[in-house]
C-alpha cells in the first residue's frame, strides 16, 4: 500500500472522487463518475506527480445493479497498481467516454467490453463487435445472460442455442441474477 499516492490522489481529485480512496495489498482504487474519465486519465498520464503511462487493462463489469468500466494503470512513481472504477453506468444504456485519445491500444479492449457488456465508448472510432458475429443481439457477460448448460441455475433448461437461452425456462432474473457490491 502506497500511502503517499493516496494523499496525492485525494489532493488532486478530492471533489471528483465518488468514494474514499481504497487500498488493499498492492492496489489503490479510486472511484469516479463516467464523465470524469478523460480528464482524470489525462491528468494521471501527463502529470509529473503521477506518470501512469502504461494502461494495463480495461474491463467491463456488470454488478447486477449498475455497470462499471475498470481501468488498471501502472506508473513508475508508485509501487501500486492504480485502479480507476468508472462507476454508476446505467444497465439500460451504459455510456462512458473512450480513452483511445491517450492509449490507442485501448481500442480493442473497449471493443471487447462493448461486445460483452454493451457498454458504449463515446469517441472510439471503431466500436463494433469483436468476438461475436455481427448479427448477434445479446451481451454474453451480463449477469442476466445465463449459460444454457448451467445446471446450478437453470435446471431443466437443456442445451439450446445461446441466443435462445437468454433466460432459462424457469428463471426469474430478478431473483436468480447474481448481484454484488463492487
Amino acid at each position: 500500500m502506497d500511502a503517499a499516492l493516496k494523499r496525492r490522489l485525494e489532493a488532486r481529485f478530492g471533489d471528483r472522487l465518488t468514494a474514499p480512496v481504497y487500498q488493499r495489498h498492492d492496489e489503490t482504487e479510486i472511484r469516479i463518475g463516467p464523465g470524469d474519465v478523460p480528464d482524470v486519465c489525462r491528468t494521471l498520464h501527463d502529470d509529473a506527480d503521477f506518470r501512469f503511462i502504461l494502461l494495463a487493462d480495461v474491463a467491463g463489469v456488470d454488478t447486477g445493479t449498475v455497470m462499471q468500466v475498470v481501468y488498471h494503470l501502472w506508473g513508475d512513481t508508485s509501487s501500486d497498481w492504480l485502479r480507476i472504477v468508472a462507476d454508476g453506468l446505467s444497465r439500460e444504456d451504459p455510456r462512458v467516454p473512450s480513452v483511445t485519445f491517450l492509449w490507442q491500444g485501448a481500442e480493442w479492449m473497449e471493443r471487447e467490453a462493448y461486445d460483452m457488456f454493451g457498454i458504449t465508448f463515446e469517441g472510439n472510432r471503431d466500436l463494433r463487435r469483436i468476438y461475436m458475429p455481427p448479427d448477434y443481439q445479446s451481451f454474453p457477460l451480463r449477469k442476466d445472460f445465463f449459460l444454457p448448460d448451467d445446471a446450478a441455475r437453470s435446471p431443466g433448461a437443456g442445451v439450446r442455442h445461446m441466443e435462445q437461452s437468454h433466460a432459462p425456462r424457469n428463471a426469474r432474473p430478478g431473483e436468480t441474477m447474481r448481484k454484488v457490491r463492487a
Binding site: 488498471h72 491517450l102 491500444g105 471487447e112 449459460l147 457490491r181 463492487a182
Partner: protein, 412 residues
C-alpha cells in the same frame, strides 16, 4: 457401343437444386467485403476501395496467421495500405465459464487460453485468488513456480524463433525449436502430468513436489542447454538474408509502444526496460539475480534478439532456483470449498509475451463474480494496424510474427 468419355464421371452435370452443391458453395468462401452495411465510420472507410486498390482475404486457415486469425488486407499492388483483423474464430467465453465454476475449477479453464505458455495464464488467476483469500504461499512452492514458469518461457521463446523463421520462409529453425520445445515439454510433463496444458498451479501452491524424473531430465538438459540454444540461434543470427530482411522492418518507437499499451519483449525491444518481475515484483523474483535485456532499435530484429537474450536470463534464473531450492510444503492448507470475502483483486505476471493479468471480483460465494483475463497477445495484435501499412505483403507477415501473438489468448 460407345466408349465412356475420359474422366466423364468428374464432369457430370449436377442439378442446381442438389443440396450438396449449395453446401460446397457456402463452405469456405470468405468474401472480403462483409454482406451487411458498415457499423462504424472506420468500417465504412476501410471497405471503400480507392484507385487501384484491392482486397485480399488472408485466413482464417492461412499458415502464417498463427492460428485462426482472419485479416482483410487492402492492397495497392503488393503494398499493404490498410488492414482489418477479424477475430472470434476461437472465442470460447472463458471469462463466463470461470464465473460459473468454483475457484479451483476455474484454474483449469485458464490453461487453454495460451496453449504455448499455459503456466503464465494460470499464474495471474491464482495470484488474484490468493490476494482475495490472503493466503501465504510456502517458499518452496514459490521456487517451484518460478522454476516451472521459466522453463515454460524458454519453451515459448524457442517456438517463437522457429515460427519467426518459418514466416520468412526458412524451414530449418522450427525443427530445432521443436526439439528444444519437446525436451522441455517432456520435462514439464514429468513434473505436472501434462505436456501442453499443465493445470499445475493451485491456490496456495502447486499440485505436486519435484520428482526424480523431472530433476534428472532437467539436469541433463541444463548441462547442454546453453550450447544447444546458441547453436540454434546462430542459424539465424549469422544468416545474412534473415538479418537484412528483419533490420529496420516494422519499427516502433517508445511513445508508440506505450500508446499501443504494449508490454513484454515487444516493449523492451523499443528501449524501455520494463519487466514486471522487477517493476512490480511478485513471487520470489526480488531474491533472484537477472538482467532485463533491452534493444533500442524497435524493429523486428530487435524483437527477435530481445527474446534470445531473455532465454539466457531464464537459464540464469533456473540455475539459481535449483541451487537455492528450500525445503518444506508445496501447498498451503486450505479448505476444499473456498468462499473469499467480498472484494476485488488484480494480479499480473510477466510472461513470454508481456503482461498476463486477472481482475477478480468476489461476492462471497464459491464462484468468482467477475473474472477478467487480460492477455498480451490480444493487445499486441492490434499493433499490426500501425506497423503493417506501408510494407510489402510478405514483410507484413514477418511483422506479425515478430509480435508473437497466440490466437488462443487473442480470442479468449
Amino acid at each position: 457401343m460407345t466408349a465412356a468419355p475420359p474422366h466423364g464421371h468428374l464432369h457430370q452435370e449436377v442439378p442446381s437444386d442438389d443440396p450438396r452443391v449449395q453446401l460446397d458453395e457456402a463452405a469456405g468462401v470468405f468474401e472480403p467485403v462483409p454482406p451487411y452495411p458498415p457499423r462504424t465510420e472506420r468500417e465504412a472507410e476501410f471497405y471503400t476501395l480507392g484507385d487501384g486498390e484491392m482486397f485480399i482475404n488472408m485466413g482464417p486457415q492461412h499458415p502464417s496467421t498463427h492460428g485462426v486469425l482472419r485479416i482483410v488486407l487492402k492492397l495497392d499492388g503488393e503494398n499493404v495500405v490498410d488492414l482489418d483483423p477479424v477475430l472470434g474464430y476461437l472465442h470460447r467465453g472463458v471469462e463466463k465459464l470461470c464465473e460459473n465454476s468454483d475457484y479451483h475449477h476455474s484454474i483449469a479453464y485458464l490453461d487453454p487460453l495460451e496453449y504455448i505458455a499455459s503456466l503464465f495464464c494460470e499464474w495471474p488467476g491464482v495470484l488474484a485468488f490468493e490476494k482475495l483469500l490472503d493466503v501465504q504461499v510456502p517458499r518452496r512452492a514459490e521456487y517451484i513456480r518460478v522454476l516451472a514458469t521459466e522453463l515454460n518461457r524458454i519453451l515459448s521463446h524457442s517456438m517463437f524463433i522457429g515460427w519467426m523463421a518459418l514466416d520468412l520462409g526458412g524451414l530449418t529453425p522450427i525443427l530445432y525449436g521443436l526439439i528444444e520445445r519437446d525436451e522441455i515439454a517432456e520435462m514439464l510433463g514429468a513434473l505436472t502430468g501434462q505436456r501442453l496444458l499443465y493445470n499445475y498451479l493451485r491456490i496456495g501452491g502447486v499440485n505436486g513436489d519435484l520428482n526424480h524424473e523431472f530433476m534428472s531430465r532437467l539436469g541433463d538438459w541444463m548441462s547442454r542447454a546453453t550450447t544447444q540454444i546458441e547453436a540454434n540461434t546462430t542459424l539465424l543470427n549469422e544468416n545474412e538474408i534473415f538479418v537484412r530482411r528483419m533490420r529496420g522492418l516494422g519499427t516502433m518507437d517508445k511513445e508508440t509502444a506505450f500508446r499501443m499499451a504494449m508490454t513484454g519483449p515487444n516493449l523492451r525491444a523499443s528501449g524501455v526496460p520494463l519487466d514486471f518481475r522487477r517493476a512490480h515484483p511478485y513471487s520470489v523474483f526480488p531474491e533472484l539475480e537477472f538482467d532485463i535485456p533491452t534493444r533500442e532499435e524497435g524493429d523486428c530484429l530487435a524483437r527477435y534478439l530481445v527474446r534470445i537474450d531473455e532465454i539466457k536470463q531464464s537459464l540464469r534464473i533456473i540455475d539459481q532456483v535449483i541451487h537455492n531450492m528450500p525445503d518444506g510444503p508445496v501447498i498451503a492448507k486450505l479448505p476444499r470449498l473456498l468462499r473469499p470475502r467480498p472484494g476485488r483483486a488484480y494480479a499480473a505476471v510477466e510472461g513470454p509475451r508481456g503482461q498476463y493479468a486477472a481482475y477478480v471480483i468476489s461476492d462471497g460465494t464459491d464462484q468468482p463474480f467477475r473474472m477478467r483475463i487480460h492477455d498480451p497477445s490480444f493487445v499486441h495484435l492490434q499493433a499490426v494496424g500501425v506497423l503493417m501499412p506501408g510494407h510489402l505483403i510478405a514483410d507484413a507477415m514477418a511483422v506479425m510474427a515478430s509480435l508473437d501473438p497466440i490466437m488462443g489468448g487473442v480470442d479468449k
